[in-house]
Amino acid sequence: MATIYIDNVPYEVTAGKNLLEACLTLGFDLPYFCWHPAMGSIGACRQCAVKVYRDENDKTGKLFMSCMEQVRDNLHISIADMEAKEFRAHVIGWLMTNHPHDCAVCDEGGSCHLQDMTVMTGHNYRQYRFDKKTYINQYLGPFLNHEMNRCIQCYRCVRYYKDYAGGKDLDVFAAHNHLYFGRHEDGVLENEFSGNLAEVCPTGVFTDKTLKQHYTRKWDLTTAPSVCHHCSLGCNIVAGERYGSLRNVTNRYNGEVNGYFLCDRGRFGYEHVNSMSRIRKSLVRTQLPEATDKYKALQAAASAIKAGRVIGIGSPRASVESNFVLRTLVGENNFHHGVSDVEHDLSDLALRILRASAARTPSLKEVEKADAVFILGEDLTNTAPMLALAVRQSVRQQPLLEQVSKAKIPVWQDAAVRALLQTEKGPLFIAASTNTKLDELATATFFDSPDAIARLGFAVAHFIHEESPNVNGLTEQEEALAQQIAMTLLAAENPLIISGTSSGSDRILKASANIANALCAKEKSAGIVLTLSECNSMGLAMLGGHKLESAFEAVLNGYADTVIVLENDLYRRAATDKVKQFFEAAKQVIVLDHLHHATSEHASILLAAGAFSEADGTLINNEGRAQRFYQVYPTTEDIQESWRWLGELGTVIAHDQIVHWEGFEDIQKAIGHELPELKGILATAPPADFRIAGQKIPRAPHRFSGRTAMLANINVSEPKPPEDPDNPLTYTMEGYRGQPPSSMIPFFWAPGWNSSQATNKYQQEVGGALRGGDPGVRLIEPNPMPEAPFSTAVPQHFQPLANHLFMLPLYHIFGSEELSTLSPAVAERIPEPYVALNSADAERLRLEEGQLLHFSIEGQAYSLPVKTSAHIPTGTAGMPIGLPAIPYIELPAWAILNGKIQWKQQHQTTF
């Protein structure tokens, strides 16, 4: 700690920070643009000037940029000094010389950092009396709108996009006051994290193009804290609504999880909520499906359940609560997981590894601090995008620790740190079946089949700890690489192993666990991250349940005749024929979901479930972190949360347990009672009767407009505001004005801070944890004394088969995940189906890029255009998984070729 004097008042601040961070942490309103808490200082905008005095006797002082000054003991500064204030106002004056002053028609208006800072400095009369410059704007793809005229040249966009996120196609062009921030030509911004530009940009140069389709000012949005439903990482989001439609998703700061950023799938994938295929009313099928009201639907479902032998199929995209109520309703023995059997086993294995491993599974924030990383079999950018962004930061950790203190450069001085480190990177090893976007950062890469990856992993574990089983028959090169990886991980302070279920290989997971356990046995504080496939895959695995295959059997062999399918399209989980057969065999199919799909077509009773923005619930991410998401806006009576539907069904049929549950919290209590491991979910959020000063927390900001007029076309009398029984949030602007607990921040706002930069005011220390701690409760902690730390499941070397290709699943951030593909913006980015083939194999098959490869898997014939790749191993091929255009296939699997082809016997690993 250090004592600094601000306008002669002493304050205790953290040493080592910069003065701007210290002032903001103390609550001073000091304007800034180019500094960003996640990206540090560069000193470009000159907005945060303060007077710095030599000592207590110095009365003249000198202007300094607070973002570029290190906090030191006995520092005397003035924020209120007239000269400093005048300078800060002039900076706005300069910045605004060419700004179009188009706030009224600008999407940023009302949540604009430039507006806030302009007001803060007191600059109000324009002195510049000459013409403004104009720019030509660019088309940047479906996600972002570009309006270069508004630019104030703070350089944040290029620093974020290029330096932080590793983007290649956004830059700053030209010089002096002709700077241009954009692409070299019109075109889609390629980086998977481009959407953050909308929040990084302090004004309206980059704005959310999807919001523009149904624009609403921030102050007119009803917002609630939510959790992203588009992958297993559980990034925190704020979802905003007006007039019953979801308008946008913005970042909700969680220091441990996503920090300040989201991936583009998470930010722009929300529009499935507004999709044309929404189920807005329940249906009961007699002759024809017939829309019906809630009570008739409930009655129909209840009689079906009472009459039948019921099984339930849960979902990895439904909340813990919904899955649990279904499990209770049908009975533990009749609860099946609505995931493919391979995925069921892998998720279960991942959970067992985390429970049993001596290594801790770190949060994303902790991943950024890892100083050596080994990724096995995961294409993170496409399966867990924000984890890829965290790994991107981690490779700076090791050179940073080593060099920055030696050169006496503060870590926040970003440009200086980058100039010092140049392209130097810490260790990152990637073993994958094909090239990934992180390869450019890797110390070494290894491209081979999943079994070969597992063998490499086992070898690494063995080199770290001799008790981990040995791998026979490694090539010299593989052995050298395994040695190198083992030595590097051992040399690191915080080595990290990353793997996941996407490769479909249990051996890779086991090898990863061996490495982590081997490191722990050598007393390293090793971490292990396992990514899963969906937002609540972990929650579902923790609930336990039977496989989908056994559900099929149960119906086909007559054990059950009535099926309840929870928020799931089973055609994405198992082969088309099987699913069809299953549904046809079932007497009654009750489907709960918010979207029509192939499964809902089979429903005899279809219950309209709320989308994520219309429901409360808990998700458990891949870290085992339980996080609460809140309903954003009230729905009509016809749509309600799945757990409420199922709970009401339980009450109607007088289920002995469910009948006693009165609401959301009773369900959570029952979960905690039945599954002690999940008890923590009760602590994820304050109870529904939580009040501050007797008041609830408003979802709408106090400037929310039009409330009395919104429904005036229907009834001039203002209706009573809807109540939310499940949580302490109100749907209107009435309620407590101050800051709510960190787990239930509906929007970031503070007096004078209308943009998302108001986040500063919600943190204990700027850039650190939220006040009251970052939300989420970790449910799984490492086991310091694992019983059997080392798996012995070392696979044999992969052998190509004549006339076959071993087809591997390939993932796409845009396309592989079900819900986001229904967002029109995301849909534009979905690739066409293809098959990826090793270039040499393609040559052997006499196929050129774009020509069709004909093959069949499990009797299903495919003809897909070839994309050649130098990395995919020979004898294998890759196929995008989950694309709307491709029906379910269980991958990896052997594909039979229509022609005869002999592979080279000794296949080659590429590095």
Binding site: A44, R46, H90, V91, Y128, A174, H176, K408, A416
Partner: protein
């Protein structure tokens, strides 16, 4: 009078070849340091000579070197860069040295590189100096051939590589950290200091950037000693200096003269005094980014301290003369046009302030000025000062403006009041 730097430069004649240069004592300093002096001794010798940087800032060269990490703990790679990006308006002294005697520069660079134990060096040359590029390329090749560059120079075990890099014509690259960024292939934006290039310079490694003239002084200091070098000067600042004069004088040019010679002597004895029919009004003593001096300052000695005391800077020591038939507003506008255009666009006050100043001056010069424009000019001169902007470009740009407002204020006001430029022969009524 000794003229060590220019003694072998004859205008219009090809520069000395390596053999010719060796014949007149060239590269003696290299042989001397490699045989007789440790790097630290070279540093101390130069520090003692009180050689101050000739690029304009006037920092003690030996002292600058002393911040480079030395010894076994120091990074293995270090760099020496010759700043030959001479783009200061009115300045053409380095050009004389570059075109006239490139071997002298190379010799100086070897001395400097040896002093900091750098093994790689660059000449960062202004794009437009095509002739110099040709001569330096040839000279470097000759030096490699003769074993003054490359592996184990003269069998000493000391290695030095040298490369010529020609810029793309940006004034900003004269600033040493922007030069380093440009050399790395990045935008020529300056870097924040600290860290200084001595610690984290080119590619993040310890780097010294010295001006061409500074480097050219080194062989002579090594050969003749620090006392001799101090003795060349008439003032506290050691050595000779290349002074230049441009403007309406009879014989504009560039001369190597003792440090501390008076402005009047340079102007009258060497530049031949004002052209007939023109009267002296003021001068910029060291390039476009220095404050005006006027009649009362003409007897000041040209050295760092004296000029600074008069409220200006010696800068590069190449003066620009303002005469009575040139409009001071137009004169300053021309300079501001240059600075606004050469701003890299990194920091706000410079990027957006300089074009504002330029347009104000243009407007005043056209007779469209308004009384409040004077206030706008003044707040720019106040707030574009050192420390408020990221680097010294904008503060430098404000120096001629603030002194013009001081010495020629009535001319500015006359423009505004009369709505026309008194120097303009055409009456331009304001619109």
């Amino acid at each position: 009078m000794e003229k060590p730097l220019t003694q072998h430069i004859v205008p219009g004649r090809k520069p000395l070849s390596l053999q010719e240069y060796e014949a007149v004592g060239g590269y003696a300093s290299v042989r001397k340091i490699l045989k007789e002096l440790t790097p630290t001794e070279v540093q101390n010798l130069v520090k003692d000579s009180n050689l101050r940087g000739r690029g304009g800032a006037g920092f003690n060269t030996g002292l600058k070197w002393s911040f480079v990490p030395m010894g076994l703990d120091a990074p293995a790679t270090k760099y020496l860069v010759a700043n030959a990006d001479e783009m200061e308006p009115g300045t053409f002294k380095d050009r004389v040295l570059l075109e006239g005697n490139p071997h002298q520069l190379i010799e100086g660079m070897i001395v400097a590189a040896y002093a900091i134990q750098a093994n790689i060096s660059y000449v960062f040359l202004r794009w437009a100096y095509k002739l110099a590029a040709k001569e330096i390329t040839q000279a470097i090749a000759e030096a490699y051939e003769a074993g003054y560059l490359g592996k184990s120079i003269q069998g000493s075990g000391y290695n030095l590589e040298m490369h010529l890099h020609t810029g793309v014509g940006r004034y900003m690259c004269g600033e040493e950290t922007a030069l380093l960024n440009a050399l790395e292939g990045k935008r020529a934006n300056p870097r924040a200091k600290p860290p200084f290039p001595q610690v984290s310079g080119l590619y993040g490694k310890p780097t010294i950037v010295n001006n061409v003239e500074t480097l050219c002084c080194l062989p002579h200091i090594i050969n003749n000693g620090s006392e001799w070098f101090k003795g060349l000067s008439r003032s506290a600042d050691a050595g000779t200096k290349l002074f230049g004069v441009s403007g309406r004088v009879k014989t504009p040019g560039c001369w190597e003269l003792p440090m501390g010679i008076t402005i009047r002597e340079i102007m009258e004895e060497y530049a031949g005094g004002m052209q007939d029919g023109y009267l002296f009004r003021g001068l910029l003593p060291g390039g476009a980014s220095t404050d005006f001096l006027v009649e009362e300052h003409l007897d000041l000695p040209m050295d760092y301290g004296s000029i600074q005391a008069a409220g200006s800077r010696m800068g590069t020591g190449t003066m620009i003369i303002l005469d009575d038939q040139t409009c001071p507003v137009g004169f300053v506008h021309n300079l501001q046009h240059f600075f606004a255009q050469e701003s890299c666009g990194f920091c706000t006050p410079c990027r957006d302030g300089l074009p504002w100043v330029e347009r104000l001056l243009l407007s005043i010069d056209k007779g469209e000025g308004r009384p409040e424009d004077m206030l706008a000019l003044e707040f720019h001169t106040k707030y574009l000062g050192p420390g408020n902007t990221f680097c010294a470009l904008a503060p430098g740009a404000m120096e001629p403006l603030q002194s013009a407002l001081k010495y020629f204020r009535e001319d500015f006001e006359q423009h505004i009041v009369e709505h026309h430029c008194p120097w303009s022969t055409v009456w331009q009524p304001s619109i």
